[in-house]
């Protein structure tokens, strides 16, 4: 963790194995992986049912977030460690949302589920249910300074006032495919927001699922013109991969102005009249 701007938000697998007094949560799109076996003592959050509004397309409303925390045995001072599959995609989403609602001490287990398995650390197969917290969780916020909404992204695109980082695969970025292979197409048009830079989220990870070193991450994003003072908007398809990149930029690199556009391509790529660029980036420039 040496050198990261905020090393306190990252813990390794060894640390987790030695700290039983924290709330560990496995976060994924659903709980299939958790059900196979999970970090002993961990509870599960499913993105598709527990970490977004299931009626309106949105993050959890504040009251539902408070209910989730309370039911998960989490108080304002609880240390929460999130981890998951896909190198912590959905764990990063949970982290981002917990920051929106003001939770102070949330950390990500570096390497996620993949590293825990590869290290042959023990798994528990019985599901855990937390004892609800004695007091109802009181969230703050929402802090929308870390969340981009469509008008803000449109303005940034028109004025070239922020670097747009599209973290999807190159095939999604160019418009060759409309959704990740194997998933249904959920947009009307393929391509990317004009001017966006394509830096797939996984480039910030090592093969074992851990984050790359500070120097490697600086080099990766520095090549796209990202500097400490540069406003950055990260987006993907539905906002979960970009929350991973948002985490990297904000907490590992320490950028002061980086926000996650969770509407992402499933919003922009369905808008009537929205400008779209296909193929490799043509106009990506410096801010």
């Amino acid at each position: 963790m040496a050198g990261y701007a905020h090393p306190e938000v990252l813990v390794n697998t060894d640390w987790v194995s030695k700290h039983a007094n924290v709330r560990v949560v496995e976060v994924d799109v659903d709980t299939k992986a958790y059900d196979e076996g999970h970090v002993p003592g961990a509870i599960a959050w499913a993105w598709n049912t527990q970490l977004c509004d299931t009626l309106v397309r949105d993050i959890l409303p504040k009251s539902q977030f408070e209910d989730l925390m309370t039911q998960s045995g989490i108080g304002k001072d609880t240390t929460v460690v999130v981890y998951g599959d896909n190198n912590n995609w959905f764990a990063a989403w949970a982290f981002w949302q917990m920051k929106i609602y003001g939770h102070k001490d949330v950390r990500i287990m570096d390497g996620g589920r993949k590293k825990w398995l590869a290290e042959a650390r023990p798994l528990e197969t019985e599901p855990r249910s937390a004892t609800p917290a004695g007091q109802k969780y009181q969230a703050t916020g929402p802090d929308n300074s870390i969340r981009a909404f469509l008008p803000q992204v449109q303005q940034a695109q028109r004025a070239a006032s922020a670097i747009l980082i599209d973290v999807r695969s190159p095939q999604e970025f160019t418009g060759e495919i409309l959704a990740p292979p194997g998933l249904p197409e959920t947009c009307q048009r393929g391509g990317h927001i004009p001017g966006a830079h394509n830096v797939p989220w996984g480039k910030a990870c090592n093969d074992d699922g851990t984050f790359k070193s500070l120097e490697e991450i600086q080099k990766l994003y520095g090549a796209e013109g990202v500097k400490q003072s540069t406003p950055v908007i990260a987006y993907c398809r539905i906002g979960e991969r970009s929350s991973h990149t948002w985490f990297v930029l904000k907490y590992l690199l320490g950028l002061g102005d980086v926000i996650n556009y969770d509407g992402s391509w499933t919003e922009w790529g369905n808008l009537v009249g929205a400008p779209v660029e296909r193929g490799v980036a043509k106009s990506a420039g410096q801010v």
């Binding site: 799109v29 299939k32 992986a33 196979e36 076996g37 599959d85 896909n86 190198n87 995609w89 993949k114 398995l117 590869a118 042959a120 650390r121 023990p122 798994l123 528990e124 197969t125 999807r168 695969s169 190159p170 095939q171 999604e172 160019t174 418009g175 060759e176 495919i177 409309l178 990740p180 292979p181 194997g182 998933l183 197409e185 393929g190 391509g191 797939p200 989220w201 996984g202 991969r241 296909r278 193929g279």
Partner: protein
């Protein structure tokens, strides 16, 4: 329980690079196929043998990947 014999390998399916992860847990074999890029899980299978788990995971991945439409850009 402890996961044993954890392996990962890359295979090409329908023109896509797929990462196949397999391990044994409690006498059963767990296999997962995911895209290398973007990294989404395609299939998860539990079976009695490594071969069966991997074969079924790859078959399911192939079925899903074969449906992916490529558009001209």
């Amino acid at each position: 329980m402890t996961p044993l014999y954890y392996t990962e390998r890359h295979v090409q399916i329908e023109g896509w690079e797929v990462n196949l992860t397999t391990y044994q847990l409690g006498g059963k074999w767990h296999s997962k196929a995911d895209n290398v890029s973007p990294g989404a899980a395609l299939a998860r299978v539990v079976a009695d043998t490594r071969e069966e788990a991997e074969e079924r995971a790859l078959a399911r991945a192939k079925e899903l990947l074969a449906r992916t439409k490529r558009h001209m850009v």
